[in-house]
Symmetry: C2
Subunit: 212 residues, 2 copies
Amino acid sequence: MESSIITISREYGSGGREIARKTAEKLGIPFYDRDLIDKAAKESGFTPEFVAEREQRLGSNFLYNFALGGIYGLAYPRKPEMKELPVAEQIFLAQRKVIEDLAEQGPCIFVGRCADYILRNKPKVLKVFIYADPKARICRAVEKYGQMEEQAEELIRHIDKQRRLHYEAYTVQEWGDRNNYHLMLDSQAFGVEGCVDIICKAVLSLDKKPSP
Amino acid sequence: MESSIITISREYGSGGREIARKTAEKLGIPFYDRDLIDKAAKESGFTPEFVAEREQRLGSNFLYNFALGGIYGLAYPRKPEMKELPVAEQIFLAQRKVIEDLAEQGPCIFVGRCADYILRNKPKVLKVFIYADPKARICRAVEKYGQMEEQAEELIRHIDKQRRLHYEAYTVQEWGDRNNYHLMLDSQAFGVEGCVDIICKAVLSLDKKPSP
C-alpha cells in the first residue's frame, strides 16, 4: 500500500478517534492523536528531557530528533526570535513540524490538529471527516466518555466550536466543508467497524488512481 | 444484500450519474436517473399511453401501473382536485410517487430528485453525495458532456444553483449539508471506479450494522 497517510477530522462524540485507532490497527501503521501531538509540540519546545525520556512511546526516534532540532528547524536551544511569537503560535508551529516530520517517515494516521491542511500539498494523503447526528453523539459522550447527560449537548456544541475556531484560525479553510476532505462518513450509519472498512477501501482506491 | 436502495445526489460535473450507473451494474440492480423519473412523472399524469408504451425500458410493470393508478394513488383519469395544484407541484408529487413505488419494489439506485429526502423514513437507504473540485468538474463538463470551455464554469454554477433551489423548495433540508447524507465522496480523489468500490463497501457496512 503506497499511500497510507490519513488525516481524520471529526465532530466531538462521533467516534472519530476510535475509528482512527482501529483503522491504524487494521493497516498496521502508527496513529497520532491530538493529545500526543500537543504534548510532543509543547514539551519539545520547553523541556526536551521530558520528550526524550518518552520518545520510545512514539516508536521512532522522531521526537528525540525533534527535541534536539528544535521548532522550525532551529537548532536547540531555541533561538531568541521564537520567543517573540505568541505561545499559541509557537505551539501551532511546533505541531506543524511534528506532523510534517511524522508524515515524512511513512504511513500513519493523524487525528485533528489541522493535519489535513498542513499536509495539503503532499500527494496521496487521504483526508477524512467523521460526523454523526447530535443525538448519537450525545449518547456516545455519555456512554463512552462518561459525560453527564444534562451537560453533553452543551459540551458537544462547545468542543465543536473550539475545533472550528482553532481550524479556522490556522487555515484559510472552513472546518467541515466538504471541499477540504476526500471522504465524509456518518459514523452512526455505519458504526465504528463499518467506517474502518470504508476508510481502508478508500485508501486502496486512492492508491489505484493515477497521480494527476 | 439486504439494503441496496441507494440515493445519489451530486454536484454537476462530478460524475455522479456515471458512478450511479456503474454501481448499479456492479450490484446488478436498476438505476433511475433524473430524466427517467421526470419523464415518468410528467407523462404519466398527462399521456399515459406514452408511458405505457415505454414501460419495458424500466424493466418492470411499475410505470404501467402508475399510469393506470394515477398520481397520488388517485384513480385514472386524474381527479379534478389534482388540477388545482400548480404544475410544478403536481410534477414533484408525481415524482415522489414514482420514487416511493420503485423503492417498494426492491433494491435500486436513484440519482437526484430529492430521493434522499423522499425516502428519509425508510430504513437502510444509503444516502450518498458526490462532489469534486470545480476545476475537475469543468474538465468533465467539457470532455465528457461536450460543453464549451468558456461557458462551463458558469454552467456548473447555474446547474448547481438549480439543484439547490429545487432541493430546498421541496425539502426542509440544505442541499449538500453533510447531515443529510451517510457518505460524501470527492470523485476527483478516487475516480469513478474508486467511488463505485467505496459505495459498494458502504452498502455492505450499512447492512451489517444492526437497526436501531
